[in-house]
Amino acid sequence: MVSAWHQTTALGAAAPKVIKIGPYRIAERLDVALASLATRRGRDKDVARAAKAAKVPLPMPSKAATGSPFGGFWLAPDMWMIEAPFDSHEDIAAHLKAVFGDAASITEQTDAWVRFDVSGGNLVPLFERLSNLDLQALPDGYASRTVIDHLGCYLIKRATTEITLYCPRSSAQSLLHALEVTAKSVI
Protein backbone atom coordinates (compact mmCIF):
# COMPACT_ATOMS: atom_id res chain seq x y z
CA MET A 1 0.00 0.00 0.00
CA VAL A 2 1.10 3.53 -0.57
CA SER A 3 2.26 5.16 2.63
CA ALA A 4 0.91 8.44 3.87
CA TRP A 5 4.34 9.31 5.23
CA HIS A 6 6.18 12.04 3.46
CA GLN A 7 9.01 11.10 1.14
CA THR A 8 12.33 12.88 1.02
CA THR A 9 14.62 12.90 -1.98
CA ALA A 10 18.26 11.91 -1.75
CA LEU A 11 19.06 15.63 -1.80
CA GLY A 12 16.91 16.13 1.28
CA ALA A 13 14.04 17.88 -0.48
CA ALA A 14 10.36 17.13 -0.89
CA ALA A 15 10.50 17.07 -4.68
CA PRO A 16 13.13 15.93 -7.16
CA LYS A 17 15.50 18.57 -8.41
CA VAL A 18 16.01 19.60 -12.03
CA ILE A 19 19.06 21.65 -12.93
CA LYS A 20 19.89 23.25 -16.25
CA ILE A 21 23.44 24.21 -17.11
CA GLY A 22 23.99 25.40 -20.65
CA PRO A 23 22.56 22.71 -22.91
CA TYR A 24 22.60 20.14 -20.12
CA ARG A 25 19.65 19.07 -18.03
CA ILE A 26 20.27 17.10 -14.86
CA ALA A 27 17.04 15.64 -13.49
CA GLU A 28 16.75 13.73 -10.25
CA ARG A 29 14.21 10.88 -10.43
CA LEU A 30 12.23 9.63 -7.46
CA ASP A 31 9.64 7.72 -9.45
CA VAL A 32 11.51 4.50 -10.13
CA ALA A 33 11.47 1.40 -7.96
CA LEU A 34 14.47 -0.92 -8.06
CA ALA A 35 15.20 -4.47 -7.03
CA SER A 36 18.13 -6.73 -7.63
CA LEU A 37 17.45 -10.17 -9.01
CA ALA A 38 19.98 -13.00 -8.82
CA THR A 39 19.51 -16.46 -10.21
CA ARG A 40 19.79 -19.19 -7.62
CA ARG A 41 22.13 -22.02 -8.44
CA GLY A 42 20.86 -24.27 -11.22
CA ARG A 43 17.67 -22.26 -11.68
CA ASP A 44 18.65 -20.42 -14.87
CA LYS A 45 15.88 -21.96 -16.96
CA ASP A 46 13.20 -21.29 -14.36
CA VAL A 47 14.30 -17.70 -14.13
CA ALA A 48 14.40 -17.26 -17.90
CA ARG A 49 10.94 -18.78 -18.29
CA ALA A 50 9.39 -16.68 -15.57
CA ALA A 51 11.10 -13.54 -16.85
CA LYS A 52 9.79 -14.11 -20.34
CA ALA A 53 6.26 -14.70 -19.13
CA ALA A 54 6.21 -11.62 -16.93
CA LYS A 55 8.15 -9.49 -19.44
CA VAL A 56 11.00 -8.84 -17.04
CA PRO A 57 14.05 -8.08 -19.19
CA LEU A 58 17.28 -9.80 -18.19
CA PRO A 59 19.76 -8.17 -20.57
CA MET A 60 23.20 -9.46 -21.50
CA PRO A 61 26.35 -8.16 -19.76
CA SER A 62 26.94 -4.43 -20.24
CA LYS A 63 23.38 -3.97 -21.47
CA ALA A 64 20.25 -2.21 -20.29
CA ALA A 65 16.71 -2.83 -21.50
CA THR A 66 13.59 -0.74 -21.25
CA GLY A 67 10.01 -1.93 -21.14
CA SER A 68 6.71 -1.55 -19.43
CA PRO A 69 6.41 -1.92 -16.57
CA PHE A 70 9.83 -3.52 -16.18
CA GLY A 71 13.19 -2.34 -17.40
CA GLY A 72 16.55 -3.46 -16.18
CA PHE A 73 20.28 -3.69 -16.57
CA TRP A 74 23.02 -6.22 -15.97
CA LEU A 75 24.87 -6.03 -12.66
CA ALA A 76 27.03 -9.11 -12.32
CA PRO A 77 27.08 -12.70 -13.56
CA ASP A 78 23.53 -14.04 -13.05
CA MET A 79 22.43 -10.76 -11.48
CA TRP A 80 20.37 -7.82 -12.72
CA MET A 81 18.80 -4.62 -11.49
CA ILE A 82 15.10 -4.42 -12.34
CA GLU A 83 13.37 -1.06 -12.72
CA ALA A 84 9.64 -0.35 -12.51
CA PRO A 85 7.43 2.71 -11.93
CA PHE A 86 7.42 3.57 -8.25
CA ASP A 87 3.74 4.49 -8.12
CA SER A 88 2.57 1.08 -9.28
CA HIS A 89 5.48 -1.00 -7.98
CA GLU A 90 6.63 0.58 -4.75
CA ASP A 91 6.97 -2.87 -3.22
CA ILE A 92 8.85 -4.12 -6.26
CA ALA A 93 10.52 -6.98 -4.38
CA ALA A 94 7.13 -8.46 -3.54
CA HIS A 95 6.05 -8.13 -7.19
CA LEU A 96 9.13 -9.95 -8.40
CA LYS A 97 9.03 -12.63 -5.72
CA ALA A 98 5.55 -13.45 -6.95
CA VAL A 99 6.97 -13.88 -10.44
CA PHE A 100 10.16 -15.79 -9.67
CA GLY A 101 9.31 -17.69 -6.49
CA ASP A 102 12.35 -19.38 -5.01
CA ALA A 103 14.21 -19.50 -8.35
CA ALA A 104 15.81 -16.13 -7.71
CA SER A 105 17.03 -14.02 -4.83
CA ILE A 106 15.33 -10.67 -4.91
CA THR A 107 16.29 -7.64 -2.85
CA GLU A 108 14.72 -4.21 -2.69
CA GLN A 109 17.19 -1.58 -3.92
CA THR A 110 14.94 1.41 -4.59
CA ASP A 111 16.43 3.77 -2.05
CA ALA A 112 19.97 2.44 -2.17
CA TRP A 113 20.45 4.67 -5.22
CA VAL A 114 19.82 8.16 -6.41
CA ARG A 115 18.97 8.44 -10.06
CA PHE A 116 20.01 11.36 -12.22
CA ASP A 117 19.01 11.59 -15.86
CA VAL A 118 21.49 13.74 -17.73
CA SER A 119 20.44 14.92 -21.14
CA GLY A 120 20.80 17.61 -23.75
CA GLY A 121 23.75 18.55 -25.91
CA ASN A 122 26.88 16.57 -26.51
CA LEU A 123 27.45 14.50 -23.40
CA VAL A 124 30.93 13.33 -24.40
CA PRO A 125 32.86 16.42 -23.16
CA LEU A 126 30.96 16.24 -19.87
CA PHE A 127 31.39 12.56 -19.21
CA GLU A 128 35.01 12.28 -20.37
CA ARG A 129 35.75 14.41 -17.32
CA LEU A 130 33.73 12.20 -15.02
CA SER A 131 34.14 8.57 -16.05
CA ASN A 132 36.72 6.43 -17.79
CA LEU A 133 34.09 4.85 -20.06
CA ASP A 134 34.56 5.51 -23.76
CA LEU A 135 31.15 7.12 -24.16
CA GLN A 136 31.70 8.07 -27.79
CA ALA A 137 32.27 4.45 -28.80
CA LEU A 138 29.57 2.89 -26.63
CA PRO A 139 26.31 1.72 -28.19
CA ASP A 140 22.93 2.96 -27.00
CA GLY A 141 21.62 0.66 -24.30
CA TYR A 142 25.07 0.21 -22.77
CA ALA A 143 25.16 -0.14 -19.01
CA SER A 144 28.14 -0.41 -16.72
CA ARG A 145 29.35 0.37 -13.30
CA THR A 146 31.91 3.17 -13.36
CA VAL A 147 33.66 5.43 -10.89
CA ILE A 148 32.50 9.04 -10.85
CA ASP A 149 33.95 11.39 -8.24
CA HIS A 150 35.29 8.37 -6.27
CA LEU A 151 31.77 6.86 -6.25
CA GLY A 152 30.74 3.57 -7.77
CA CYS A 153 27.84 4.45 -10.05
CA TYR A 154 25.89 2.69 -12.75
CA LEU A 155 25.88 4.52 -16.05
CA ILE A 156 23.34 3.71 -18.74
CA LYS A 157 23.67 5.26 -22.16
CA ARG A 158 20.06 5.51 -23.31
CA ALA A 159 20.98 7.60 -26.34
CA THR A 160 23.77 9.92 -27.45
CA THR A 161 22.13 12.78 -25.60
CA GLU A 162 20.64 10.88 -22.68
CA ILE A 163 22.37 9.15 -19.82
CA THR A 164 20.97 7.62 -16.66
CA LEU A 165 23.14 7.50 -13.56
CA TYR A 166 22.42 5.45 -10.48
CA CYS A 167 24.72 6.51 -7.67
CA PRO A 168 24.97 5.72 -3.97
CA ARG A 169 22.08 7.61 -2.44
CA SER A 170 23.90 8.92 0.60
CA SER A 171 26.39 10.76 -1.65
CA ALA A 172 23.77 12.38 -3.88
CA GLN A 173 24.83 15.91 -2.94
CA SER A 174 28.50 15.27 -3.64
CA LEU A 175 27.72 13.64 -6.95
CA LEU A 176 25.41 16.42 -8.06
CA HIS A 177 28.10 18.93 -7.16
CA ALA A 178 30.58 17.03 -9.35
CA LEU A 179 28.09 17.01 -12.22
CA GLU A 180 27.41 20.72 -11.84
CA VAL A 181 31.00 21.94 -11.68
CA THR A 182 32.00 19.71 -14.55
CA ALA A 183 29.10 20.85 -16.68
CA LYS A 184 30.05 24.46 -15.99
CA SER A 185 33.62 23.76 -17.02
CA VAL A 186 32.65 22.48 -20.47
CA ILE A 187 29.82 24.77 -21.54
Partner: protein, 94 residues
Protein backbone atom coordinates in the same frame (compact mmCIF):
# COMPACT_ATOMS: atom_id res chain seq x y z
CA UNK B 1 47.40 -1.21 -16.18
CA UNK B 2 44.47 -2.59 -18.09
CA UNK B 3 42.86 -5.88 -17.14
CA UNK B 4 40.95 -7.55 -19.92
CA UNK B 5 37.91 -8.73 -18.00
CA UNK B 6 36.53 -11.98 -19.46
CA UNK B 7 33.00 -10.58 -19.47
CA UNK B 8 33.39 -6.82 -19.65
CA UNK B 9 36.51 -6.40 -21.77
CA UNK B 10 39.41 -4.05 -21.02
CA UNK B 11 39.01 -2.18 -17.73
CA UNK B 12 41.32 0.20 -15.91
CA UNK B 13 43.19 -1.32 -12.99
CA UNK B 14 41.91 1.56 -10.84
CA UNK B 15 38.59 -0.31 -10.68
CA UNK B 16 40.19 -3.39 -9.12
CA UNK B 17 41.44 -4.43 -5.73
CA UNK B 18 44.47 -6.69 -5.53
CA UNK B 19 44.60 -9.63 -3.17
CA UNK B 20 47.64 -11.72 -4.06
CA UNK B 21 48.75 -15.16 -5.17
CA UNK B 22 45.93 -17.19 -6.71
CA UNK B 23 47.09 -20.08 -4.53
CA UNK B 24 44.99 -18.42 -1.86
CA UNK B 25 42.13 -20.31 -3.46
CA UNK B 26 43.66 -23.62 -2.36
CA UNK B 27 42.26 -23.42 1.11
CA UNK B 28 42.57 -26.68 3.04
CA UNK B 29 39.53 -28.17 4.72
CA UNK B 30 39.52 -26.94 8.28
CA UNK B 31 37.98 -30.12 9.64
CA UNK B 32 40.75 -32.36 8.32
CA UNK B 33 43.84 -30.22 7.77
CA UNK B 34 45.82 -29.05 10.77
CA UNK B 35 47.59 -25.89 11.77
CA UNK B 36 50.70 -26.78 9.75
CA UNK B 37 48.75 -27.08 6.52
CA UNK B 38 46.93 -23.82 7.18
CA UNK B 39 50.14 -22.10 8.12
CA UNK B 40 51.67 -23.17 4.83
CA UNK B 41 48.54 -22.11 2.96
CA UNK B 42 48.36 -18.69 4.54
CA UNK B 43 51.98 -17.62 4.85
CA UNK B 44 54.20 -19.44 2.38
CA UNK B 45 54.26 -17.74 -1.01
CA UNK B 46 56.52 -17.75 -4.00
CA UNK B 47 57.72 -14.37 -5.11
CA UNK B 48 58.48 -14.93 -8.77
CA UNK B 49 60.19 -12.42 -11.04
CA UNK B 50 58.12 -13.36 -14.05
CA UNK B 51 54.76 -14.99 -14.55
CA UNK B 52 52.47 -14.82 -11.56
CA UNK B 53 48.86 -15.92 -11.16
CA UNK B 54 47.07 -13.58 -8.84
CA UNK B 55 43.64 -12.60 -7.58
CA UNK B 56 42.06 -9.29 -8.47
CA UNK B 57 38.56 -8.16 -7.47
CA UNK B 58 36.51 -5.94 -9.76
CA UNK B 59 35.13 -3.90 -6.91
CA UNK B 60 34.09 -0.92 -9.04
CA UNK B 61 32.64 -3.21 -11.66
CA UNK B 62 30.72 -6.46 -11.59
CA UNK B 63 32.31 -7.75 -8.36
CA UNK B 64 33.92 -10.68 -10.13
CA UNK B 65 37.04 -12.14 -8.61
CA UNK B 66 39.53 -12.76 -11.39
CA UNK B 67 42.65 -14.86 -11.75
CA UNK B 68 45.08 -12.68 -13.66
CA UNK B 69 48.31 -14.11 -15.08
CA UNK B 70 50.74 -11.21 -15.00
CA UNK B 71 54.45 -10.92 -15.54
CA UNK B 72 55.72 -9.15 -12.43
CA UNK B 73 58.72 -7.78 -14.34
CA UNK B 74 57.01 -6.41 -17.45
CA UNK B 75 53.41 -6.16 -16.19
CA UNK B 76 52.34 -8.02 -19.30
CA UNK B 77 49.04 -9.76 -18.67
CA UNK B 78 48.68 -12.96 -20.66
CA UNK B 79 45.51 -14.45 -19.26
CA UNK B 80 42.45 -13.36 -17.30
CA UNK B 81 39.89 -15.86 -15.99
CA UNK B 82 36.89 -15.77 -13.72
CA UNK B 83 38.11 -17.07 -10.37
CA UNK B 84 34.91 -19.02 -9.95
CA UNK B 85 35.62 -20.98 -13.15
CA UNK B 86 39.20 -21.59 -12.06
CA UNK B 87 38.08 -22.76 -8.63
CA UNK B 88 35.61 -25.19 -10.14
CA UNK B 89 38.19 -26.48 -12.62
CA UNK B 90 40.52 -27.08 -9.70
CA UNK B 91 37.87 -29.21 -8.04
CA UNK B 92 36.52 -26.77 -5.50
CA UNK B 93 32.77 -26.93 -5.01
CA UNK B 94 30.87 -26.19 -1.84
Amino acid sequence: MIINHPILGPRDVQEFVYLGDAKMMHRPDGMTAGTEAFHDYLYNRDNPAGEHRELWYHEQGDRSWLVVTRNTVTHEITRVELARDVARAEGRSK
